[in-house]
Symmetry: C2
Subunit: 141 residues, 2 copies
């Protein structure tokens, strides 16, 4: 019930939106289990491999810099990230993930992997290869 975007919408649009919704639901549930929002989940996905400046984070997350201030404030209060001063420019911080933040990120990554794999568990190997090929086409031209 409440399945289709519209009877007249091409099936591929409907499928993409529904697929997005299914993945979204999984991500939301896992994030919530760790008391994180989806944006925070994305934040930690970034921080695992980067130490961005606040303004770069705003760009990555498509948020206003003031929103990032609050986001980092709350994460810092929970001991998940740190603001690190940059010697070259007194205005700038880099945001760095803490060991605790890294541990939570690792747990989340494992869970996400497992649950998303569950979503495609019934596909044949051939279909899984096809899907990866077509998805790559969509995502990276």
């Amino acid at each position: 019930m409440v399945k289709n975007l519209s009877p007249n919408v091409p099936e591929i649009v409907d499928d993409l939106v529904q697929l997005c919704f299914a993945v979204q639901t999984i991500l939301l549930r896992i994030a919530a289990a760790h008391d994180l929002s989806l944006v925070q989940m994305r934040l930690f996905g970034i921080l695992r491999d980067h130490e961005p400046e606040m303004i770069a984070l705003a760009r990555y997350l498509n948020l206003d810099k003031s929103s990032v201030s609050g986001l980092i404030d709350r994460a810092e209060q929970r001991g998940l990230v740190r603001r690190v001063r940059v010697p070259e420019d007194g205005r700038v911080f880099r945001v760095s993930i803490t060991p605790l933040g890294r541990q939570i990120t690792a747990e989340i990554t494992t869970q996400v992997e497992s649950e998303i794999l569950g979503l495609v568990a019934n596909l044949s190997d051939a279909d899984r290869r096809q899907f990866i090929r077509i998805a790559s086409e969509i995502l990276r031209g």
Copy 2:
């Protein structure tokens, strides 16, 4: 940049999450252009074909009933929905979309369709058929 969930995560998981993110970005942008949240967009997707009770809406949207109260309050103030009394049970409302709400929903549907189609514009017809087949497999077994 900031592309992969992790180097060790299977490619199909990464692709699904990224595909979800791409769709999400489109939906968010279109919703925002109409001053709506993603949840409101889902709400109107439901109301186009249904007149649910508040409690059913809470179930569909996976929200607490108090959250739905606020959601419907704000939509009602903007003239997009109406609360309709049910004669059989004095406690119950049905939520009904107004002509204005229906018009906005139609605009959004058209835009979403067009932008999502743009995402798969470069696929061959064969790949598009394959994708629909595999997506159906994932979504509906």
